[in-house]
């Protein structure tokens, strides 16, 4: 089995560089960052510090926006979303740990628009895997892997961060 790289710090450094390049190319000087609970927040905390962003990190829990609510019910550990800034006309960097089906990002975008109308949203993910079910792509990606359907890529953390491939327990 292919195992992802053990050195997450190296991935984060590359991501921070790519984000700087992206922001410069788009002429964005004052972006804010938002992490998606829980893994996305861990990654965002590190990137937020590396980029030296002025405003505090925002956090998003997309439980209330999931499209499988009527099947799976309320996530048992839903955390409050907290955006300590106005999103209207701002450039937002949305951060998640693993991009897979794209459904989490769809939910996050819906939630963000209930806070206001951002100027632009960029997506940064630590890891990207195949299996997309929605037309969602990341602007910045730390690492890419192809995995069979029965396997999942998980981020463990918050300290230290580690990526691991695990077998999915079938709940059919």
């Amino acid at each position: 089995m292919t195992q992802p790289p053990a050195d997450i710090d190296a991935l984060l450094i590359t991501m921070a560089d790519d984000l700087r390049t992206l922001l410069k190319a788009r002429q964005v000087d004052n972006p804010v960052m938002i992490g998606i609970h829980s893994g996305g927040v861990w990654v965002a905390r590190r990137l937020h510090e590396m980029l030296g962003l002025e405003e505090s990190l925002g956090t998003l829990d997309i439980s209330f926006y999931r499209d499988d609510f009527s099947r799976t019910g309320m996530h048992p550990e839903v955390k409050p979303s907290h955006l300590p800034f106005d999103v209207d006309n701002r450039h937002l960097i949305l951060v998640d740990d693993v991009l897979y089906t794209g459904r989490t990002i769809r939910a996050a975008l819906n939630e963000l628009f209930d806070y206001g109308r951002p100027a632009a949203i960029y997506l940064a993910v630590l890891a990207d895997r195949d299996g997309r079910e929605l037309p969602v792509q990341a602007d910045v990606t730390g690492y890419h892997i192809e995995l069979p359907r029965g396997q999942q890529l998980k981020l463990q953390g918050p300290d230290p961060l580690g990526l691991r491939v695990v077998d999915v327990v079938s709940n059919a």
Binding site: D61, S63, F64, Y65, F69, S70, R71, T72, G73, M74, P76, E77, V78, K79, P80, S81, H82, N110, E111, F113, D114, Y115, G116
Partner: protein, 319 residues
Amino acid sequence: MRANPQLDENGKLRHFLTIEGLRRPLLTDILDTAESFAGVTERTVKKVPLLRGKTIVNLFFEPSTRTRTTFELAAKRLSADVLNIQASVSATTKGETLLDTLHNLEAMHCDMFVVRHCDSGAAHFMAKHVAPHVAVINAGDGSHAHPTQAMLDMFTIRRHKGEFGALRVAIVGDILHSRVARSQIHALTTLGVNEVRIIAPKTLIPAHAEALGVHVYHDLREGLRDVDVVIMLRLQNERMGSAFLPGEHEYYRLFGLTEEKLALAKPDVTVMHPGPINRGVEIDSAVADGPRSVILQQVSYGIAVRMAIMSMAMHQRGE
């Protein structure tokens, strides 16, 4: 023995009928979920799409403004469609009427009933007869239970006082007829507060009240000593004049909460009241509008708490 009718086979909420028989982790889950919903009401768009496409019926056989409107707002903020029905109880064929009403509404493909009824057990009765995909929330039944009110009171206490373990809570007023008090007592003891006191004249305390795990006081001054939270109950006017009480002036003199009596409690005491308040009967205006009162916050929290309970009871229905 039949399992708790409020829970499904995985121990998740199916209906919300009474606090009795629910365990601490579930109550804590409700409070935590409500905490997340509290943030929603502070945003530009005060709505989440959780219950989009669901229909919720507020079926009220008793008048109510606060409870019904906060249930309605909660449902709307969850993106559900809401139907308000102010029904009257036909005295002769109550059981049959309730069941008929129920089946008629079910035929309109409703997903949840929020029911208030003057008969104790009405919500249980409905829960027993609804189709498997329908959830029932008790918004007050007779003098039995008012569990969503109790949960919003617990939410208020946790917000203003923190952990439950160290707290001494006093409930003052007509305990005998109060469904709110009964639900509060179950919630407080389940969440493990240090002490629950009930304070009232002898005629307004149920027999064997101690069996609920509370301490009984008949003197307000004595009972208020060193408490962290005081919950005042509304003195229902209809009790006056019957044999329960001599009159509201005497009641106010003995059991009305004033600044002077409140001084016996802890300096940072929190004063609560489920509303509507009778100024000058059970509580003095100076206390009700004073800095230690959280009566209006309770109303706001009621929306978030009801959003939590409705969304938790609505999950995994026949899909």
